[in-house]
Symmetry: C2
C-alpha cells in the first residue's frame, strides 16, 4: 500500500522535495496538546482494579433497553426525521424530555427556547467559553476544580482566577466579586464532593446579581442520587438569567454517547445555537432520538434507580474497606456520587503512590491535576467506583493499602 | 407547570427582582447569530419540490443496512468498546476503514497518526480555524464559496481574502500568495461545481510550497461519482504536509449522523485531538462503530453505487428539464455531484424568484449567500436534486419555469 502510494506520487510533476517542511510551531495559533490533563490508561478495562472516574462498568450499561430504543429510532417515520441535517436545531422530542422529565427534578423550569442539546457537558462549557470569554475576561474557577474547565477557559483568557473551595464548596469573596464569569459545581463539587449549603447558594447568587457576573453551574452528577437535602440546582433559585445550567447524560447513560445540555436565557441560547451550528451543526440526530425514546419509555428512570442502588452499595463497600485498610486516609464523599476525595498523610506524593499501585493492578487518580496552583499539593487522590465491579472493590483497596505500606517504607520522605 | 415554577421560586429567600437583567449584549464576546447563513425552511420535506442542497431524500437512506450495523454495534463485545469515554481517541475500526477503503480511492495514503474523525466536515473546519487562524492571520477563501467556511474563519480573523473562482475553480494569483491559510474545494467547487484541472492543482500546490501557506482541501462531495478524469484529491499530489484534507460521510450516509474526518500531518492531528478533546471529547462512539461496520461489510460501496446511479439519473432529468423549460438559464454541473449552479438572466433577482417559486411549492437556493462581496450579484441560484424524488424533478422545474415567467412579467426591472 505504501509502495503503491510512492508510485502514485512519483508520477506527479510538482517538485516538492526541495521545499522546507511546514513549520507547525510557527503556524499554530494555539497549542492545546501542551495543557495538563487527566490521563487515563487506554487499556484500563484490562486492569483488575480500575478506580477511575467518568468511565462506566460495561455491566451497568442497559444494553437491551438501549437496543430497543435504537431499533425504534430506525422506524421509517423516525428515519425521516433524524437522517436530515437540522442545521441549528435539535430533536424536539429530546428537548421535551429534558424539559419535562429531567429539569423539574432539579427544580428547574424552562421552556423550549431556553434549552439546547450538546455533545456532553464538555461541548456546553466550550461553547459558553467561546461566547462569554474574551481575551481579557476575568473568569473564576474552583480550586481544586475540574481540569477540563480550567483548560477550556484558559485557551480563551489569561485572566483565570482560582477561587478557594472549602468543605461547603466554592467560597464567595473578593476574588469572586471581580469575575465576569464563574464556573462552579455546587451540587457535588468536583473533585471534593462537597454539596453547597442553601445559605451559601443564596449568597453566591446575590453576589452575582450585584456584580453582574454570569454563573455557569455544572450539574455534572445531577442524576446520581446524592442522599443530601439540597437536591435542587442553583439554577432553580435564579429568578433572572444569572445562572447558566449545564447538565449531562454521560454519567448515567454512557459517556461514549456524548449527550448533554445547556439551559439559559433565550438570548444566550440563540447565540449558542448559531455557534454550535458553525462548530458541529448539531449532536447526531439518531442518538438524540434514541435518548428521547429511552427517557420517554421510562428506561432512564429505571436506570437511575438501578445505578443509584449499585453506586450506593459500592460506595458503602469502598468506604468500609478504606476505613479498615487505610485508616490514616481521610475520605470525603461517602453516600453520594460516584467517587471519593481522599486526603493522604501530608508527606505522601500520590503521583508516586498511583504508579506503585498501578504495578499491582490498581488504578487511582492523583489529585494534583485538579489544582491550578503553580505548586499544587501532592497528597490528594480521587477514587471512583462506577468503573469497577462491586466484588473487586474490597480486594482492590486491600491491594492499594499494601502499595501504600511499601510506599511508606521505601519512599524518599 | 409555569405556575408551579413560580410557586417554587416564590419560596426562595433571595430577592432578585430589584436587580437589573443580564446585559447579554455587553457580555457576549462573539455574536454568531448575526452572520448571514443559508436558510432552509424547517418543513422542507412537506414541500412538493424541494431542490435543496445537503439534505437527503429519506428514500435513499439504507435503513435495513444501517439497522444491521447499529444492531451489531450493540453486541456485548462492541458495547464494551463504545460505551467508554475515549477522551481524545477514535474508534480504531473506523480509522482503519477510512485509511484503507475511503482515502485510497482519492489517491491519498495516510497512516493512523494522520487521521482524526470529526462531527462532519463542519467540525473539521472549525477545529482547523481555531488551530491555524489567529486574530491577524490572512485566510483565503473561494468567492463564490461555502458560506459556512466564510463564517467559521471570520469569527477568528478580520483578514479574510476573497479569492476569485473561474470555470476551473480557485485562481492562483497575488491575493493567494499573501495568505497563510487557504480554504478550497478543488474536487467540486462549492457552489459552481467546477472541477479543478491538473495543471492548476500543480500550480496552486507549488505556490503554497513557495509561500509556506497551508491549503485546506474540503473534498465534500468526494464519494459522489463525478464522471470527471480528475478523480484524485489535491492531497494526493502533496509530497509534504502542505495540504490538510477534509472528508465527509454526510453526503453519502446521512447528514444527521455527523461523521467526517481530517487527514494531515501528525503534528497537526495531535493538536487537533487535544482541541477536540476540549470541545466535545470525540464524536459519539456508537455511531463511529456502526459506520465502521457499515464500511467494512461493503454496505457503503453498494450505497455509493446506488446513490451515484440515482443522482446521475436525477441530474440528467433535471438538466433536460431545465434546457426545455428554462432555456435562457445557464446551467453548470450536469453529470457530476448533487447540484447545479445556475446563472439566470442578468436582471433576475433570485431572492424574489425563490420566494415566488416557494409559493408554488418549489424550493431553490438564491446564490447571493455564496458571495462574500459587499454587493453580491443576485442572478445566481443553486439547484440540488439529492433531496427530491426522481419523478418530482420534471414537474418541479416546470413549476419553477412558470414562476420565472410570472417574475419576468411582474418584477420591477
Amino acid at each position: 500500500m505504501r509502495e503503491e502510494a510512492a508510485g502514485l506520487r512519483a508520477g506527479v510533476a510538482v517538485a516538492t522535495s526541495n521545499f522546507p517542511p511546514v513549520e507547525w510551531d510557527r503556524l499554530l495559533a494555539v497549542r492545546p496538546s501542551l495543557q495538563r490533563n487527566i490521563v487515563k490508561p487506554r487499556g484500563w478495562l484490562r486492569y483488575p482494579y480500575p478506580f477511575l472516574y467518568g468511565q462506566i462498568d460495561p455491566a451497568l450499561f442497559p444494553v437491551a433497553d438501549w437496543r430497543e430504543c435504537s431499533r425504534k429510532a430506525l422506524s421509517v417515520l423516525d428515519v425521516r426525521d433524524w437522517t436530515q441535517d437540522l442545521i441549528d436545531g435539535d430533536d424536539p422530542l429530546l428537548i421535551e424530555q429534558i424539559r419535562t422529565r429531567l429539569l423539574p427534578r432539579r427544580g428547574v423550569m424552562a421552556d423550549e427556547s431556553e434549552i439546547m442539546v450538546t455533545l456532553g457537558a464538555q461541548q456546553a462549557l466550550s461553547l459558553l467559553a467561546e461566547l462569554l470569554v474574551g481575551r481579557d475576561t476575568e473568569v473564576g474557577i474552583e480550586n481544586p476544580g475540574y481540569p477540563d474547565a480550567r483548560n477550556i477557559f484558559s485557551i480563551k483568557t489569561s485572566r483565570l482566577r482560582l477561587l478557594t473551595v472549602d468543605e461547603h464548596g466554592l467560597m464567595p469573596g473578593e476574588a469572586f466579586a471581580n469575575c465576569a464569569v464563574v464556573y462552579l459545581t455546587p451540587g457535588h463539587q468536583c473533585p471534593t464532593t462537597a454539596v453547597m449549603p442553601l445559605d451559601r447558594r443564596e449568597a453566591l447568587l446575590a453576589g452575582a446579581q450585584r456584580t453582574g457576573a454570569v454563573l455557569i453551574e455544572d450539574d455534572y452528577e445531577s442524576e446520581i442520587p446524592s442522599g443530601s437535602d439540597t437536591a435542587r440546582a442553583l439554577k432553580s433559585f435564579d429568578n433572572g438569567e444569572r445562572v447558566v445550567y449545564v447538565g449531562s447524560l454521560s454519567k448515567i447513560l454512557a459517556p461514549g454517547l456524548r449527550l448533554g445540555y445547556i439551559v439559559g436565557s433565550p438570548a444566550l441560547i440563540r447565540e449558542a445555537r448559531a455557534l454550535r451550528r458553525l462548530m458541529v451543526r448539531h449532536p447526531p440526530t439518531n442518538n438524540q432520538r434514541a435518548a428521547a425514546l429511552f427517557l420517554s419509555l421510562g428506561h432512564y428512570d429505571a436506570l437511575v434507580r438501578r445505578l443509584g442502588k449499585a453506586l450506593k452499595e459500592r460506595s458503602e463497600i469502598a468506604a468500609h474497606a478504606l476505613a479498615r485498610h487505610l485508616p490514616d486516609f481521610d475520605v470525603r464523599g461517602a453516600g453520594r456520587g460516584s467517587s471519593f476525595w481522599v486526603t493522604c498523610p501530608r508527606q505522601t506524593d500520590t503521583r508516586v503512590l498511583s504508579e506503585m499501585a498501578r504495578e499491582q493492578g490498581v488504578l487511582i487518580e492523583p489529585g494534583e491535576i485538579f489544582f491550578g496552583d503553580a505548586r499544587p499539593p501532592r497528597n490528594f487522590l480521587r477514587l471512583a467506583f462506577a468503573s469497577i465491579g462491586t466484588e473487586r472493590i474490597e480486594p482492590g483497596i486491600k491491594t492499594l493499602a499494601a502499595a501504600a505500606r511499601s510506599y511508606e517504607n521505601g519512599a524518599p520522605q
